[in-house]
Symmetry: C2
């Protein structure tokens, strides 16, 4: 499993993903699930992936090949697509085709493959966008009413987002919120694991403004996790029923 979350805020985009990948409980590995595509000053796109690794890796590789191809144009390269919406369409189509191909192969074994993506980005002159792309290639967007999107093991970490994330939330608070959301998920579900990848794209920066890998023993993350545990316990103690 996986947990990835993206926020669309007035000040920018915030993304956080874990790295645990497993094929059965005795085959656990670490794979990056956050990918960057950018031409600084022109366009920036971040993609986070959940689901079958063979689907997501192949889809990401195909998107990169299409960017690098000598005949790349605005209908094939997500960096040349004139809008983020068109880029999301290309990504959706690539995901759907890849998934269908692999799914057909696996059907012979009575297995299936599925995957979903979160796409965040901005193109010069355009708005910041945050999409959730479904396995079939269709997608939805984050809005003012629902400024966050999640893929993978999303339930454990949703209550804290429901309570604190609004479009006007500051980037500092947003980073805290996604990290605490991940912290709850890590505690409750074995299939989500450290290290984590976090990225911030500030509004109109047109490049990834901050990227950080948070390793298992990261003292800052641990301190935050312990402070949150303490805050929850203290809050719990103070409440009267």
């Amino acid at each position: 499993m996986t947990y990835c979350v993206g926020l669309l805020l007035k000040e920018g985009l915030v993304m956080l993903s874990d790295t645990r990948t497993n094929a059965g409980l005795d085959n656990i590995s670490t794979y990056r699930k956050m990918f960057f595509f950018e031409r600084p000053g022109e366009v920036v796109i971040t993609i986070m992936t959940a689901g079958s690794l063979s689907v997501t890796q192949t889809a990401m590789a195909r998107l990169q090949e299409a960017i690098d191809a000598p005949d790349a144009d605005e209908t094939t390269s997500i960096l040349k697509a004139p809008t983020l919406l068109k880029a999301a369409s290309i990504i959706g189509n690539t995901l759907a085709e890849t998934r269908l191909e692999i799914d057909e192969k696996l059907n012979a074994m009575n297995q299936g493959a599925t995957a979903s993506l979160i796409v965040a980005g901005q193109r010069k002159g355009g708005q910041m966008r945050l999409f959730l792309i479904y396995p079939e290639g269709n997608f939805i967007q984050a809005t003012e009413d629902t400024p966050f999107l999640q893929i993978g093991e999303h339930k454990y970490g949703k209550p804290i987002l429901d309570r604190v994330v609004k479009p006007g939330t500051s980037l500092a608070d947003a980073k805290k919120a996604v990290l605490l959301s991940m912290d709850s998920t890590l505690r409750s579900n074995l299939s989500v694991g450290m290290p984590l990848d976090m990225a911030v794209i500030e509004r109109d920066a047109l490049q990834v403004t901050q990227r950080r890998r948070i390793e298992a023993g990261d003292p800052q993350f641990r301190a935050m996790s312990e402070a949150w545990s303490k805050a929850l316990r203290d809050g719990f103690t103070q409440i009267e029923i």
Copy 2:
């Protein structure tokens, strides 16, 4: 959907269930999901239900019929079963048979029916027990390491239980923990709804010591919910990253 949670603590058993039942999004009703079977001073059993209403209602009715039957004996009546383990077996078998019957009927329509139960209780001279009974009739028990069991929409409300519930938790704190666990679930999932049913069986009381229905506008529950929101927001604000 549904959310039910049961705790097995040194001081007693604590149960909480919601009442929302839905068949599709436009057919929502309120049904009690917590059932009591007791002979005060001798045996007390509480059952909470999740899943297909036709399965759980029929299974509960059959358990009651078996108790009331003139030829009820220790192999058919859960109140006559010599141990809680044997009572859990009767309940498991009744659930499995009922589910199978209904499932076969629904198979013709390419549909299926499933249900699971939490059973809590104590018999004179025996230990307090807390079981989770699966649709197939097999079951697991709560232990010192895992003093709580959940059925239905369990993920949103698990983080708070993971953090605060230990076997030595007081009954007052336990009631608070299950109510806050429910509060998180109510906020994040539409298929779980008020009113709530809460019950406490104190150790060796051999009867339900406390039962409470919490209605939608309950001022005490609302105050607790708001105090918890405030505690979370305050805790969130104080944490530095």
